[in-house]
Symmetry: C2
Subunit: 350 residues, 2 copies
Amino acid sequence: MTTLKNDLLLRALKGEKVQRPPVWMMRQAGRYLPDYIKLRKKYDFFTRVQTPELACEITLQPIDQVGVDAAIIFSDILVIPQAMGMEVLMEEGRGPLLPKTISTQQDIDALHIDDIEDRLSYVTKALSLTKQELNGRVPLIGFAGAPWTLLCYMVEGKGSKSFDKAKQFCFTTPAFAHSLLQKITDATIHYLIAQVKAGADVIQVFDSWSGMLSPADFKIFALPYLTQIADAVSPHAPVILFPKGSWYALPDLCNTSASGLGIDWSITPQMAREFTNNSITLQGNFDPSRLLAPISEIKKSVREMIDAFGVDRYIANLGHGILPNVPVDHARAFVDAVKEYEPAPNYTTV
Amino acid sequence: MTTLKNDLLLRALKGEKVQRPPVWMMRQAGRYLPDYIKLRKKYDFFTRVQTPELACEITLQPIDQVGVDAAIIFSDILVIPQAMGMEVLMEEGRGPLLPKTISTQQDIDALHIDDIEDRLSYVTKALSLTKQELNGRVPLIGFAGAPWTLLCYMVEGKGSKSFDKAKQFCFTTPAFAHSLLQKITDATIHYLIAQVKAGADVIQVFDSWSGMLSPADFKIFALPYLTQIADAVSPHAPVILFPKGSWYALPDLCNTSASGLGIDWSITPQMAREFTNNSITLQGNFDPSRLLAPISEIKKSVREMIDAFGVDRYIANLGHGILPNVPVDHARAFVDAVKEYEPAPNYTTV
């Protein structure tokens, strides 16, 4: 095994003292990068995802071009429903579409989970190749969608402002919902452990739609499955849970086996530290739209953000994925501001 | 002036003791009601909004058919940008579209505000007519969009997942943003006071997109303008502020002149009471998707919600607008459950 030359991310997740926080950006591979846009013109979405050489190339672009402290494998959360047997259509500029949605126990029973690692071997191959190409420069992050978020797409069939079809399914047939959530959880655990074996140093679980749930419903439909995944995967690699919009869940989530929690920009660093009792590494939470501000403003806001979170137990990141219209030099300014960070003279660890 | 036969809403906003909380539903006039859908087939959106007889008829439908404790005038938050001189297109089933957006100080200077009450006289006429037709059965609620939310549409031109164009405008040209926000605020204050003079007993201000702002940005781009509106309108009628998604703003907002704060379902009643130091009437916060659950479940959840908020200083409502696909008898079950509410034997006021 190659020793990591830059292990800031791993040290932050362990809670070790660091000179400065590590920095990466959600969706850093893709969208706003001109070299990615060139590849997008040549290969369709699933070709890019399913060809290990292409996924590797895209994963490496921001390491070389923006200078982040971690790589995250280029892939998609919907590869799991697809590997379970559902058709997933992905048109450029539109959201995903799953033409045949789940509504009955029979639909759930028809989903495959036994051979999930084989069906997703293109991801593990991409990870191995990327790990080799990185040659220890920075850690490699693997990921999956959280069971609740995948249920949203599998039942609703597409993005939605309210996901009311998915919620109606949960509220009217909770036994089916739990059967589906458990099946997704089992598949996800196998998939994530396979990712670690293939070279992922850290795992992030994206619960992109958890914020649609009330605190009471989060405890029923999201928390138990996130907990199972963190418990099963954390013996293999540190796990970061990112429950977008679910600030209310931080007290519960900091008691799981996760090493880090991602947060969006709707909470102050101070409140996030308070809700997690200062006991876990936090990741976030720069408003992605703020990368459209002038560079001097970006750098100032980044410094204020680190001042507020503190240097230790902290991973600088956005509060959600980078927007497609962010200029590359603004993304670089975000990363540079973290790298240039010097604690204020009156700085004390939170 | 007619005395109100049902003044539960006003008493709840004053913090007076009540036998049970008042109940109404955001977007109760429209969408899910078959009689509304019939009118929608005959008249386009702005004909419905701008014809006082139609707006009145639509406003009264849920009073007779669902039994809510308040009427809210049928209108739209975008009537203000429209009255200020912007073109607003509203196609059924799609969101609003404002073809010419605001981007310069010149665009802002071109907006009219002097004769706003005249330009919106169709709303005040609809309120007078509805007030007369209600004949004191229940209070009448007038409303407007909050300045930040209106800026979002005026700058972005349409709905958006991130409103990054609106945010970029604020982050790169804050002086223009404040100039626009102040102009909207001035227009809104005139408009809302005119609504009260025409018969509105209560005013609600919808900040539908405030949750897109970080707590720090909320203090800059939303709070000062909400505060101005609450200060100016509250001498005329009680004001309810509804900053959707901005749970973090509750401590600041409970120190404004508002009589009530609307909350969505992403916060527990207990936390909302804690954040507002038990000092203000709260309104909400049933997940609108829960109205798709079986009726017995709806009734049970409503009882639990009232148990958690307490009977006093509370207005039962949804946490956002009712969904178009909610069966009328489910909406009625929500209202009935509040009306049938009996405190648990061990009930104590929070």
